[in-house]
């Protein structure tokens, strides 16, 4: 099979050419479908902006009714304390009512989130204030209950609300709002989406439309085809992740310093992308129809994203969910990115997560090679 003395590559060189061919096709395909690439990157950015600005924000102007039945000096102190919640933190919009039934009716109609009753004969030994809250809205209920209880404790201790001394707080790192805290998670989400589009979806489409026959009948080894699919998916997912990181740096400036952490962040993105792409390859090693992807997407998204600690600290999870986190590659990608981007940790702090991501990729790659359908 030589023409003019040319001998086609065989062995490892053929494997490399095979990987290159799979990647070349994946990149050219995606390049000609920019909508797909842009939407892959846009989704996490929208996620960052909407989720970051809608979750974990301080409550403002929650309607509160206060019924002062006592009319004594203690109730006056309590009213001053509640007023300070409105004028200071802007936590409440307070309405003082004389009639308890009217206040409770307003609560049931949704006009107030809570009613604070200062009962007749209010005294330190009792009777004490009553808090009646709308517990369908747990966040408001908890915030109001906590703030009003604090006021009563201060008043009943004889210090008065104005005298309440702030507790000492020390922050180890510069101030971060929730959007910034979410930024590394959003980079991981971009990696997840990118690897799904370029890795999982492409493999399935190839199977559905018969393109994959063009790969299967060639002398390129199955291992090289698997590596090609994982690598192609990982590079595209890395591009999506890196693009989102750059957006994040613009929208939610993070305390990142120096070229080292930046380079380490991009390497983390690539290693995380490899691990996620290898999951898609393994899942679709035998699947034939896009319906499998539709069925799996929600499950995989939930199974990888939420246990990773993307939205809430892993320490709050029950034991079974922590064990999912322990094998979730996004946990490790996220940990490394948070260390680098938010905590300014040295690059060496990323070695354990990187090692996990590489091992995970290797295991999934080998399993994909075992399960990969080389036949139709």
């Amino acid at each position: 099979m030589t023409e003019r003395g040319f001998r086609p590559a065989r062995g490892p060189v053929l494997a490399l050419l095979g990987i290159l061919a799979v990647c070349q096709r994946a990149y050219a395909t995606l390049w000609r479908q920019p909508v797909l690439l842009v939407s892959t990157m846009l989704f996490p950015v929208v996620y960052l902006l909407l989720l970051g600005n809608s979750l974990n924000r301080p409550l403002r102007a929650v309607p509160l009714a206060v019924v002062d039945e006592a009319g004594n000096s203690l109730s006056a102190e309590c009213l001053r304390g509640a007023a300070s919640l409105e004028s200071g933190r802007d936590l409440v919009r307070m309405r003082i009512l004389a009639d308890r039934p009217e206040a409770l009716a307003g609560l049931r109609r949704g006009r107030y989130r809570a009613v604070w009753v200062l009962p007749l004969g209010l005294a330190r030994q009792g009777p004490t204030p009553s808090f009646i809250g709308d517990n369908t809205d747990r966040a408001s209920y908890d915030a109001l209950e906590s703030a009003l209880r604090e006021i009563w404790q201060e008043v009943s201790a004889g210090r008065g609300p104005a005298a309440a001394a702030p507790s000492a707080r020390l922050e180890a790192y510069p101030y971060l709002d929730y959007v910034t805290y979410l930024a590394p998670a959003v980079v991981c989400l971009a990696i997840f989406m990118g690897s799904m589009v370029a890795g999982g979806l492409q493999v399935l489409e190839d199977r559905m439309y018969g393109y994959h026959e063009g790969y299967l009948v060639t002398p390129v080894s199955t291992g090289a085809l698997v590596a090609g699919h994982i690598f192609a998916g990982a590079v595209i997912a890395s591009i999506a992740g890196a693009a989102v990181l750059i957006c994040v740096l613009l929208f939610a400036p993070v305390p990142l310093a120096g070229a080292g952490p930046v380079a380490a962040s991009f390497l983390t993105i690539f290693l995380t992308a490899l691990a996620i792409a290898s999951i898609w390859s393994l899942l679709f090693a035998r699947a034939k129809h896009a319906s499998v992807l539709r069925g799996m997407f929600g499950i995989i998204n939930a199974a990888l994203f939420f246990p990773s600690g993307a939205l809430y600290p892993i320490e709050s999870y029950p034991a079974w969910l922590r064990s999912v986190s322990a094998v979730d590659p996004l946990t490790y990608g996220l940990r490394a990115l948070r260390d680098l981007l938010l905590r300014g940790a040295p690059v060496a702090a990323c070695y354990p997560p990187w090692l996990f991501l590489l091992t995970f990729t290797l295991v999934c790659g080998v399993l994909t090679r075992v399960f990969f359908r080389r036949e139709i």
Partner: protein, 316 residues
């Protein structure tokens, strides 16, 4: 003796209780174009998939260029080129990119890859469209690109699974010409072709195998198969008056079969091919005083041979 490019011995493929190919044996020497004809579900595509390593046989054996299709898959894949029923070129890639990807998968690279891409694109008439995205090509052009892709690495055995399905006559003819040129440029190239178009098989194939229900029913050169048919040639004679019963008996004795007279003064019958029965019948009728108004002698086609073996019933 020239080794066979393909040799299949009792090749069988079962899917559960269904037997797609049942002990199929055949051989294709180098340089031959071999056609697999058969109705849908006859087992042609399954047979090709086994020979191209895409399906493992249930039993039996086959060798392609001397390599076992089960134990030496990589060597088989290196030796073959395939053009499948499905379009396997990526519609998002340009014509050139499709070939570039394919070439790498066969170990071609650098200047040699570029040279072969140019050669094949000139050969299939797509050089001027090398930068065009494949989805913009017509059906015929895409088929030509598929063929260029299948032969880019200069295989010694080429499998073509219904390569002209759905194409207009001009595109079909251009693909026939293209295959002729390829055979001329590489006399060792063995081609296995499946098709439902009998004229295509007749034009392209040195030998054909007629398959049905997973078996090869008959095999041979198209001309030989046509000659073996007892009632192949169609003869239609229009005379100035209706042929009498006694004269009809005379023609039946001559070798005419399946006599029918759809309208007055028209007679139709069939006869063995190559024996000139139609012309002799017309001469005899003239000698009996009939005036021959019109005489049509339609030669046997491969389709007649096909129907004689597979019947005319529809398949599932």
């Amino acid at each position: 003796m020239t080794p066979h490019s393909i040799e299949a011995i009792a090749l069988t493929k079962r899917f559960g209780d269904f037997v797609a190919d049942n002990a199929v044996s055949f051989a294709v020497p180098a340089g031959e174009t071999y056609g697999l004809l058969g109705p849908n579900g006859a087992g042609k595509t399954t047979l090709i998939r086994m020979l191209t390593t895409l399906l493992p046989p249930t039993s039996g054996a086959a060798r392609v260029r001397g390599h076992d299709i089960v134990r030496e898959k990589t060597a088989v894949r290196t030796a073959i080129g395939t053009v499948s029923q499905a379009i396997t070129t990526d519609e998002n890639l340009t014509v050139r990119e499709n070939l570039s990807v394919q070439g790498k998968l066969y170990g071609l690279w650098g200047g040699e890859l570029s040279r072969r891409i140019e050669k094949r694109l000139h050969q299939v008439g797509l050089w001027d469209r090398r930068g065009q995205v494949t989805r913009q090509l017509s059906g015929g052009m895409r088929r030509r690109l598929e063929i260029a892709r299948g032969v880019l690495h200069s295989p010694k055995v080429l499998f073509l699974d219904e390569p002209t399905t759905g194409l207009d006559p001009q595109s079909r003819r251009s693909i026939w010409d293209l295959l002729g040129e390829m055979k001329a440029s590489d006399p060792e190239l063995a081609v296995v072709l499946t098709t439902h178009a009998m004229d295509e098989a007749d034009f392209l194939c040195d030998r054909v195998a007629i398959m049905d229900a997973g078996r090869i029913l008959e095999e041979g050169a198209p001309e030989r198969l046509k000659r073996t048919l007892d009632t192949g040639e169609h003869v239609a004679i229009e005379t100035d008056r209706t042929v009498s019963d006694s004269d009809r008996e005379m023609l039946l004795a001559l070798g005419a079969t399946n006599w029918r007279s759809p309208v007055d003064r028209h007679a139709e019958f069939q006869s063995r091919p190559g024996e000139g029965i139609g012309r002799r019948a017309a001469q005899l009728l003239e000698e009996k005083g009939y005036r021959i108004v019109h005489l049509t002698i339609a030669p046997v086609t491969l389709e007649d041979v096909f129907f004689s073996y597979t019947g005319r019933g529809l398949r599932e």
